[in-house]
Symmetry: none
DNA sequence: AATGAATGAGGCTTCATTCAT
DNA sequence: AATGAATGAAGCCTCATTCAT
């Protein structure tokens, strides 16, 4: 079964990550066995340990992918042109849309964070903090510009908002009546409103 | 073995619940072994299985306690006298204060919900829904009264706010600079603000 | 709740033995827990350990009762008057009838014998041997008298017959079409027939 | 690790089945721990659970092997040529010889049947019934042919005889004075005699 | 005569991981 | 690149029994 030498992708590796993500989201990291993952991916344990050093490693890679994606999107929107209120609104919307489009990742994120090895845990926390800081800077920028209320610490506004976003995994369903865009708009409106600014 | 009338020792059952709560919050339900729980409570496994049918049962009882407490507090504040905006503000503050006072319970709540037996899971979801509904009614009442913006579904406002509350377990620390009251005030302000109303 | 000082029976003890017999027959000695027995008898563990030294002791008492009953019946029939063939036939019938009337005892007998403490086990085996020997003597008596074939050791005839009797617990049901008397007659006929003698 | 071509070591699976059979026969299914089985087979528990789904599964496989063997032998003898009385005699002898050659299987059969999962239990009962029916057909054939007495249901004759056979495990010892052949001849003689027919 | 809390040993099973091939 | 047999540690739970009352 010869493969093209050019388009060498690693379907096995990708399948393993995909199934692991799905299963971790569905039943949690601790309640998912390596056996279940490899069975879902249609391979054997040996194959998994060929591509990943451990079950923890799988989780670690998922976190890496999520963090990279989130940061990339956030940066793109936050660094755009335009008034800060509009940028924050657009960014908040995109955060929700991205989360909804990768709901499994979101479900895994906080629920399984503690299962990471201490080293990895620290790295993820730090990366996540940078993510929050970029968002916080946007809020602070608006406060300094006088378009947002200043009596609430920007840091807390961020925790307030991202709490809501993280919670999406608990109630949002793509089969429900609302699209990610719609939820995003509402959430962004609520955020701007809570900052004493109305954009829409 | 007569008991000292003064040092009424904590009953075993209570100690088990307390230690289980602490450990589940600290490292998760799945990552906490029964052995660790009974060791922390200073009893043997047999004693635990005398009081609780299973490890799941322990978790179940914790949920029962949490739900009862939350509902009781919410009802008390929501049913008070006064303008709806003030009642919502006070209720929101109390939700935060209660959560912060029982941060371990909060950490356990969403993270370990999926480990409940399907039957129990349903019961907990239903009870939690009733809780949300009572809060939502307050928001809807204000919308009908014309004091809150009406272009966002009350249901979504509730999910938005409780997401933030649930997230507290992730970042709030009683040793930090802010008291539960302070965070509560900020959160309530943000909530009211997001509804287009300013109370403080 | 004063009791008559005269008719002091011990209903608890009796209930415990009865329920234990039923449960041991139904699911085996090892698969029946003390908890199940006392629950069925409507008492607590403490009560059971008041009357019986151990779970093994319960089993032991059941064996004692069975052995006593069997030996008593066998002796009565074997020692009666009349031709040996008639006595063997009547005895064999009675063995079957008695077994069928106490089918639970029969189910327990061989299945749980190995669970007895070595000491008790020996005693039961010895008592059972005496039982067999009395039956064997009857066969041998008939062989010496020339009414039974002599080319098969009496001992083996006894094992052959009691195997069939013990097996009753596996297939006989009091709700089935045959009474214990009927099965007894057939079995006795088969036994006599196998000895080359026809009585009915 | 190349294998010597001479001492082809018993595969782990086979060793486990062999030791389990021996131990179940010796002390019963419930009183034999998985630990004892794997220790006897010289492997670890993990190895056992690699080959068998559970302790019950081990028992199930033993039953499968026994049933297959019994049916195969019975069919071969029952379907042979010759007068029905001779065929029944030969078959009965072979049943005894086979039982004695696999005495451990026989000891396990009835004693541990109840420990099988309900599903498996039914299957085994059904298979066993087919086995009995083949034997019963032989008896009925002789009755219709007029060579066996007809006043006792063939079904009962079968239960009578197989009771004796099953009981062998209780008293027969390969170290005793009688060979399996000898016991088989006696048992077959007794069976034929009980049917009013003398063959030897 | 009887309770019920508590023990401690042991039972079955799961699981992440390794290793020779 | 991938297999699958095997390990060893750990997990949850059951159970006969004891003991103070």
């Amino acid at each position: 079964m010869a493969r093209s030498a050019v388009t060498v992708e690693e379907p096995v590796r990708r399948r393993l990550l995909a199934e692991a993500t799905r299963l971790f989201a569905e039943r949690g990291f601790e309640s998912t066995s390596v056996q279940e993952i490899v069975a879902a991916a249609g391979v054997t344990k040996g194959a998994m340990y060929h591509y990943f050093g451990s079950k923890d490693d799988l989780l670690h890679e998922i976190y890496g992918r999520v963090l990279r994606l989130q940061m990339e999107r956030l940066t793109r929107f936050a660094d755009a042109e335009g008034p800060v209120a509009e940028r924050l609104h657009a960014t908040a919307m995109d955060v929700v849309v991205t989360t909804v489009e990768n709901l499994d990742d979101s479900k895994i994120f906080f629920r399984s964070m503690h299962q990471l090895a201490p080293e990895t845990y620290k790295t993820v926390r730090a990366e996540r903090r940078r993510y929050h800081e970029r968002f916080r800077d946007l809020v602070a920028e608006g406060q300094r510009a006088g378009v947002f209320r200043e009596d609430i610490p920007a840091e807390m506004v961020v925790d307030f908002f991202f709490g809501s976003v993280h919670h999406l995994g608990t109630w949002y369903s793509p089969d429900g009546p609302l699209s990610g865009q719609e939820v995003g708009r509402h959430f962004a409106d609520l955020l701007l409103g809570s900052l004493g600014h109305s954009i829409s």
